[in-house]
Amino acid sequence: MASETGQQHPLGIYLKIWILLFVLSLFSYMVDYLHVQGSLRWTLVLFFMVLKAGFILAVFMHVKWERLALILTILGPPTILLLLIFIMAIEGNYTESTRIQYLGHDANATPLHVSH
Protein backbone atom coordinates (compact mmCIF):
# COMPACT_ATOMS: atom_id res chain seq x y z
CA MET A 1 0.00 0.00 0.00
CA ALA A 2 1.01 3.52 -0.63
CA SER A 3 0.67 4.38 3.03
CA GLU A 4 3.55 2.32 4.29
CA THR A 5 6.18 4.99 3.93
CA GLY A 6 4.07 7.98 5.00
CA GLN A 7 5.12 11.59 4.69
CA GLN A 8 8.77 11.60 5.62
CA HIS A 9 10.92 14.57 4.65
CA PRO A 10 14.22 16.03 5.84
CA LEU A 11 14.04 18.03 9.07
CA GLY A 12 15.67 21.00 7.37
CA ILE A 13 12.60 21.97 5.35
CA TYR A 14 10.43 22.08 8.49
CA LEU A 15 12.92 24.30 10.28
CA LYS A 16 13.16 26.64 7.29
CA ILE A 17 9.37 26.98 7.01
CA TRP A 18 9.14 27.44 10.76
CA ILE A 19 11.56 30.38 10.66
CA LEU A 20 9.79 31.77 7.60
CA LEU A 21 6.45 31.71 9.44
CA PHE A 22 8.02 33.59 12.35
CA VAL A 23 9.42 36.24 10.02
CA LEU A 24 6.15 36.64 8.10
CA SER A 25 4.19 36.96 11.37
CA LEU A 26 6.66 39.57 12.56
CA PHE A 27 6.23 41.48 9.28
CA SER A 28 2.44 41.47 9.55
CA TYR A 29 2.71 42.62 13.17
CA MET A 30 5.04 45.43 12.09
CA VAL A 31 2.38 46.60 9.60
CA ASP A 32 0.16 47.35 12.60
CA TYR A 33 2.96 48.57 14.85
CA LEU A 34 4.18 51.10 12.28
CA HIS A 35 0.61 52.29 11.62
CA VAL A 36 0.62 51.50 7.90
CA GLN A 37 -2.87 52.47 6.69
CA GLY A 38 -5.06 52.37 3.61
CA SER A 39 -4.66 50.09 0.65
CA LEU A 40 -0.99 49.41 1.43
CA ARG A 41 -2.08 47.92 4.77
CA TRP A 42 -4.60 45.64 3.06
CA THR A 43 -2.10 44.58 0.43
CA LEU A 44 0.66 43.76 2.93
CA VAL A 45 -1.57 42.00 5.48
CA LEU A 46 -3.27 39.87 2.83
CA PHE A 47 0.04 39.12 1.10
CA PHE A 48 1.67 37.87 4.31
CA MET A 49 -1.52 35.98 5.21
CA VAL A 50 -1.64 34.12 1.90
CA LEU A 51 2.07 33.28 2.11
CA LYS A 52 1.74 31.94 5.67
CA ALA A 53 -1.38 29.92 4.85
CA GLY A 54 0.30 28.56 1.72
CA PHE A 55 3.43 27.42 3.55
CA ILE A 56 1.45 25.77 6.36
CA LEU A 57 -0.73 23.93 3.84
CA ALA A 58 2.02 22.99 1.41
CA VAL A 59 4.76 21.90 3.79
CA PHE A 60 3.45 21.36 7.33
CA MET A 61 0.29 19.65 6.04
CA HIS A 62 2.26 17.96 3.22
CA VAL A 63 -0.21 18.99 0.52
CA LYS A 64 2.53 19.61 -2.02
CA TRP A 65 3.60 15.98 -1.78
CA GLU A 66 0.10 14.51 -2.12
CA ARG A 67 -1.49 13.09 -5.25
CA LEU A 68 -3.61 15.37 -7.41
CA ALA A 69 -6.87 13.57 -6.50
CA LEU A 70 -6.40 14.52 -2.82
CA ILE A 71 -5.08 18.02 -3.54
CA LEU A 72 -8.17 18.88 -5.60
CA THR A 73 -10.47 17.41 -2.94
CA ILE A 74 -8.88 19.74 -0.39
CA LEU A 75 -8.52 22.92 -2.45
CA GLY A 76 -11.39 22.57 -4.93
CA PRO A 77 -14.57 22.92 -2.83
CA PRO A 78 -13.39 25.97 -0.81
CA THR A 79 -13.00 28.01 -4.02
CA ILE A 80 -16.81 28.38 -4.04
CA LEU A 81 -16.30 30.59 -0.98
CA LEU A 82 -14.96 33.33 -3.24
CA LEU A 83 -18.44 33.57 -4.73
CA LEU A 84 -19.99 33.78 -1.25
CA ILE A 85 -17.56 36.56 -0.29
CA PHE A 86 -18.37 38.44 -3.50
CA ILE A 87 -22.15 38.16 -3.05
CA MET A 88 -22.10 39.09 0.64
CA ALA A 89 -19.84 42.09 0.00
CA ILE A 90 -22.39 43.45 -2.50
CA GLU A 91 -25.24 42.73 -0.09
CA GLY A 92 -23.37 44.34 2.82
CA ASN A 93 -22.68 47.49 0.84
CA TYR A 94 -26.31 47.73 -0.17
CA THR A 95 -27.48 47.32 3.45
CA GLU A 96 -25.07 50.01 4.61
CA SER A 97 -26.28 52.44 1.95
CA THR A 98 -29.92 51.93 2.98
CA ARG A 99 -29.02 52.52 6.62
CA ILE A 100 -27.34 55.79 5.71
CA GLN A 101 -30.04 56.87 3.29
CA TYR A 102 -33.19 55.89 5.18
CA LEU A 103 -32.17 55.54 8.84
CA GLY A 104 -29.94 58.60 8.96
CA HIS A 105 -26.84 56.74 10.16
CA ASP A 106 -23.63 58.75 9.99
CA ALA A 107 -21.25 57.14 7.48
CA ASN A 108 -18.29 59.21 8.65
CA ALA A 109 -18.48 58.52 12.39
CA THR A 110 -15.18 57.53 14.00
CA PRO A 111 -14.82 54.99 16.82
CA LEU A 112 -14.07 56.21 20.33
CA HIS A 113 -10.55 55.70 21.60
CA VAL A 114 -9.84 53.03 24.17
CA SER A 115 -8.59 54.10 27.58
CA HIS A 116 -6.56 51.41 29.34
Binding site: M1, A2, S3, E4, T5, G6, Q7, Q8, H9, Y14, L15, I17, W18, L21, F22, S25, S28, Y29, V31, D32, Y33, W42, V45, L46, M49, K52, A53, I56, L57, F60, M61, W65, E66, L68, A69, L70, I71, L72, T73, I74, P77, P78, L81, L84, I85, M88, A89, G92, N93, E96, R99, I100, H105, D106, A109, P111, L112, H113, V114, H116
Partner: protein, 228 residues
Protein backbone atom coordinates in the same frame (compact mmCIF):
# COMPACT_ATOMS: atom_id res chain seq x y z
CA UNK B 1 -3.48 0.50 -9.13
CA UNK B 2 0.15 1.24 -8.80
CA UNK B 3 1.09 -0.59 -5.62
CA UNK B 4 4.66 0.62 -5.51
CA UNK B 5 3.89 4.32 -5.61
CA UNK B 6 4.59 6.03 -2.34
CA UNK B 7 2.65 9.08 -1.28
CA UNK B 8 5.87 10.80 -0.40
CA UNK B 9 7.26 10.63 -3.92
CA UNK B 10 8.81 13.92 -4.88
CA UNK B 11 8.53 13.78 -8.64
CA UNK B 12 5.93 15.95 -10.32
CA UNK B 13 4.39 12.82 -11.86
CA UNK B 14 2.34 12.47 -8.68
CA UNK B 15 0.52 15.66 -9.58
CA UNK B 16 0.15 15.00 -13.27
CA UNK B 17 -3.48 15.40 -14.45
CA UNK B 18 -3.45 11.77 -15.60
CA UNK B 19 -3.06 10.56 -12.03
CA UNK B 20 -6.27 12.40 -11.16
CA UNK B 21 -8.22 10.53 -13.84
CA UNK B 22 -6.56 7.21 -12.97
CA UNK B 23 -7.26 7.57 -9.25
CA UNK B 24 -10.94 8.37 -9.77
CA UNK B 25 -11.50 5.64 -12.37
CA UNK B 26 -9.58 2.90 -10.59
CA UNK B 27 -12.73 1.01 -9.50
CA UNK B 28 -10.97 0.73 -6.16
CA UNK B 29 -9.94 3.40 -3.71
CA UNK B 30 -9.51 6.99 -4.87
CA UNK B 31 -7.15 8.34 -2.23
CA UNK B 32 -3.85 6.56 -1.80
CA UNK B 33 -3.56 7.48 1.84
CA UNK B 34 -4.62 5.69 5.04
CA UNK B 35 -8.40 5.95 5.55
CA UNK B 36 -7.92 7.91 8.77
CA UNK B 37 -5.98 10.56 6.91
CA UNK B 38 -8.59 10.83 4.14
CA UNK B 39 -11.33 11.18 6.76
CA UNK B 40 -9.36 13.83 8.66
CA UNK B 41 -8.95 15.81 5.44
CA UNK B 42 -12.67 15.58 4.68
CA UNK B 43 -13.43 16.76 8.22
CA UNK B 44 -10.99 19.64 7.82
CA UNK B 45 -12.55 20.72 4.52
CA UNK B 46 -15.99 20.78 6.19
CA UNK B 47 -14.51 22.70 9.14
CA UNK B 48 -13.10 25.18 6.63
CA UNK B 49 -16.66 25.95 5.60
CA UNK B 50 -17.77 26.50 9.21
CA UNK B 51 -14.96 28.96 9.90
CA UNK B 52 -15.52 30.59 6.51
CA UNK B 53 -19.19 31.13 7.35
CA UNK B 54 -18.13 32.90 10.55
CA UNK B 55 -15.55 35.04 8.76
CA UNK B 56 -17.86 35.91 5.86
CA UNK B 57 -20.59 36.73 8.41
CA UNK B 58 -18.08 39.02 10.13
CA UNK B 59 -17.29 40.68 6.81
CA UNK B 60 -20.98 41.19 6.08
CA UNK B 61 -21.87 42.81 9.43
CA UNK B 62 -18.75 44.95 9.31
CA UNK B 63 -19.56 46.21 5.81
CA UNK B 64 -23.27 46.66 6.47
CA UNK B 65 -23.03 48.58 9.74
CA UNK B 66 -22.78 52.35 9.42
CA UNK B 67 -21.43 52.54 12.99
CA UNK B 68 -17.64 52.90 13.27
CA UNK B 69 -15.76 49.65 13.90
CA UNK B 70 -13.70 49.73 17.15
CA UNK B 71 -9.93 50.02 16.65
CA UNK B 72 -8.51 46.54 17.23
CA UNK B 73 -5.01 47.93 17.59
CA UNK B 74 -6.14 49.93 20.65
CA UNK B 75 -8.60 47.39 22.05
CA UNK B 76 -5.95 44.68 22.17
CA UNK B 77 -3.10 46.87 23.38
CA UNK B 78 -1.48 45.90 26.65
CA UNK B 79 0.86 47.73 29.00
CA UNK B 80 3.54 45.97 31.01
CA UNK B 81 4.56 47.27 34.43
CA UNK B 82 2.93 50.63 33.84
CA UNK B 83 4.50 51.22 30.41
CA UNK B 84 2.71 52.85 27.50
CA UNK B 85 0.24 50.34 26.00
CA UNK B 86 1.90 48.31 23.23
CA UNK B 87 -0.57 47.80 20.36
CA UNK B 88 -1.79 44.25 19.73
CA UNK B 89 1.11 42.77 21.72
CA UNK B 90 -0.80 39.91 23.37
CA UNK B 91 -2.20 38.79 20.02
CA UNK B 92 1.30 38.87 18.53
CA UNK B 93 2.61 36.69 21.37
CA UNK B 94 -0.32 34.28 20.93
CA UNK B 95 0.47 34.07 17.22
CA UNK B 96 4.09 33.22 17.95
CA UNK B 97 3.06 30.61 20.54
CA UNK B 98 0.77 28.92 18.00
CA UNK B 99 3.42 28.96 15.26
CA UNK B 100 5.95 27.48 17.66
CA UNK B 101 3.47 24.71 18.48
CA UNK B 102 3.01 24.06 14.77
CA UNK B 103 6.77 23.68 14.42
CA UNK B 104 7.05 21.20 17.29
CA UNK B 105 4.10 19.27 15.81
CA UNK B 106 5.78 19.05 12.40
CA UNK B 107 8.89 17.67 14.09
CA UNK B 108 6.78 15.19 16.11
CA UNK B 109 5.37 13.77 12.85
CA UNK B 110 8.91 13.39 11.54
CA UNK B 111 10.19 11.62 14.66
CA UNK B 112 7.08 9.44 14.71
CA UNK B 113 7.96 7.99 11.31
CA UNK B 114 11.51 7.46 12.58
CA UNK B 115 9.89 5.38 15.35
CA UNK B 116 11.64 7.46 17.98
CA UNK B 117 8.84 7.24 20.53
CA UNK B 118 10.54 9.18 23.31
CA UNK B 119 11.18 12.31 21.24
CA UNK B 120 7.79 12.03 19.50
CA UNK B 121 5.97 11.99 22.84
CA UNK B 122 8.11 14.85 24.14
CA UNK B 123 7.36 16.98 21.05
CA UNK B 124 3.65 16.19 21.22
CA UNK B 125 3.55 17.17 24.89
CA UNK B 126 5.40 20.39 24.06
CA UNK B 127 2.81 21.10 21.34
CA UNK B 128 -0.04 20.45 23.80
CA UNK B 129 1.60 22.70 26.41
CA UNK B 130 1.95 25.53 23.89
CA UNK B 131 -1.66 25.02 22.84
CA UNK B 132 -2.78 25.21 26.47
CA UNK B 133 -0.72 28.40 26.86
CA UNK B 134 -2.53 29.85 23.86
CA UNK B 135 -5.94 29.03 25.35
CA UNK B 136 -4.84 30.54 28.67
CA UNK B 137 -3.87 33.79 26.96
CA UNK B 138 -7.16 33.75 25.06
CA UNK B 139 -9.01 33.41 28.38
CA UNK B 140 -7.02 36.38 29.73
CA UNK B 141 -7.97 38.39 26.63
CA UNK B 142 -11.64 37.51 27.10
CA UNK B 143 -11.61 38.52 30.78
CA UNK B 144 -9.97 41.82 29.85
CA UNK B 145 -12.60 42.60 27.19
CA UNK B 146 -15.41 41.57 29.54
CA UNK B 147 -13.88 43.97 32.06
CA UNK B 148 -13.97 46.78 29.48
CA UNK B 149 -17.69 46.16 29.06
CA UNK B 150 -17.53 44.43 25.68
CA UNK B 151 -20.69 42.37 25.28
CA UNK B 152 -22.16 40.49 22.31
CA UNK B 153 -24.71 43.31 22.04
CA UNK B 154 -22.52 46.34 22.60
CA UNK B 155 -19.23 47.93 23.60
CA UNK B 156 -18.03 51.37 24.71
CA UNK B 157 -16.35 52.32 21.41
CA UNK B 158 -18.44 51.70 18.31
CA UNK B 159 -20.35 49.11 16.29
CA UNK B 160 -22.13 46.71 18.70
CA UNK B 161 -21.42 43.77 16.37
CA UNK B 162 -17.75 43.89 17.40
CA UNK B 163 -18.39 41.91 20.59
CA UNK B 164 -20.52 39.18 19.04
CA UNK B 165 -18.02 38.65 16.23
CA UNK B 166 -15.07 38.60 18.65
CA UNK B 167 -16.58 36.14 21.12
CA UNK B 168 -18.00 33.88 18.44
CA UNK B 169 -14.92 33.59 16.23
CA UNK B 170 -12.20 33.49 18.89
CA UNK B 171 -14.41 31.29 21.06
CA UNK B 172 -14.94 28.74 18.33
CA UNK B 173 -11.24 28.78 17.50
CA UNK B 174 -10.30 28.45 21.17
CA UNK B 175 -12.64 25.47 21.40
CA UNK B 176 -10.75 23.88 18.51
CA UNK B 177 -7.42 24.49 20.24
CA UNK B 178 -8.75 23.01 23.50
CA UNK B 179 -10.04 19.94 21.68
CA UNK B 180 -6.68 19.69 19.92
CA UNK B 181 -4.83 19.69 23.26
CA UNK B 182 -7.00 16.80 24.50
CA UNK B 183 -6.54 14.98 21.17
CA UNK B 184 -2.75 15.44 21.35
CA UNK B 185 -2.53 14.22 24.95
CA UNK B 186 -4.63 11.15 24.11
CA UNK B 187 -2.50 10.20 21.12
CA UNK B 188 0.76 11.01 22.93
CA UNK B 189 -0.23 8.62 25.72
CA UNK B 190 -0.95 5.86 23.21
CA UNK B 191 2.35 6.49 21.42
CA UNK B 192 4.10 6.30 24.78
CA UNK B 193 2.46 2.93 25.52
CA UNK B 194 3.64 1.63 22.14
CA UNK B 195 0.13 1.06 20.74
CA UNK B 196 1.26 1.97 17.23
CA UNK B 197 4.40 -0.18 16.99
CA UNK B 198 2.61 -2.61 14.66
CA UNK B 199 0.19 -0.24 12.91
CA UNK B 200 2.73 2.46 12.13
CA UNK B 201 2.78 6.12 13.02
CA UNK B 202 0.41 7.71 10.48
CA UNK B 203 -1.74 8.66 13.47
CA UNK B 204 0.81 11.28 14.48
CA UNK B 205 0.61 12.80 11.00
CA UNK B 206 -3.21 12.79 11.19
CA UNK B 207 -3.13 14.51 14.58
CA UNK B 208 -0.65 16.95 13.07
CA UNK B 209 -3.04 17.75 10.22
CA UNK B 210 -5.69 18.81 12.75
CA UNK B 211 -3.21 20.88 14.71
CA UNK B 212 -1.81 22.67 11.66
CA UNK B 213 -5.37 23.40 10.55
CA UNK B 214 -6.05 25.17 13.84
CA UNK B 215 -2.91 27.24 13.21
CA UNK B 216 -4.05 27.88 9.63
CA UNK B 217 -7.41 29.22 10.81
CA UNK B 218 -5.61 31.53 13.24
CA UNK B 219 -3.61 32.99 10.34
CA UNK B 220 -6.90 34.17 8.80
CA UNK B 221 -8.40 35.37 12.10
CA UNK B 222 -5.18 37.26 12.90
CA UNK B 223 -5.26 39.01 9.51
CA UNK B 224 -8.97 39.75 9.15
CA UNK B 225 -10.07 40.39 12.71
CA UNK B 226 -7.00 41.85 14.40
CA UNK B 227 -4.99 43.51 11.61
CA UNK B 228 -7.57 44.78 9.10
Amino acid sequence: MNQTTTISAHDAGERHPNTFVQDWSADKQVYHVPWGKAMMWIFLVSDTFIFSCFLVGYMTVRISTADPWPLATEVFALSFFGSEPIPLILIAIMTFVLITSSGTMALAVNYGYRRDRRITVFLMLATAALGATFVGMQAFEWSKLIGYGVRPWGNPWGAPQFGSVFYMITGFHGLHVSAGVIYLLTIARKVWRGDYEKKGYEIVEITGLYWHFVDLVWVFIFAFFYLL
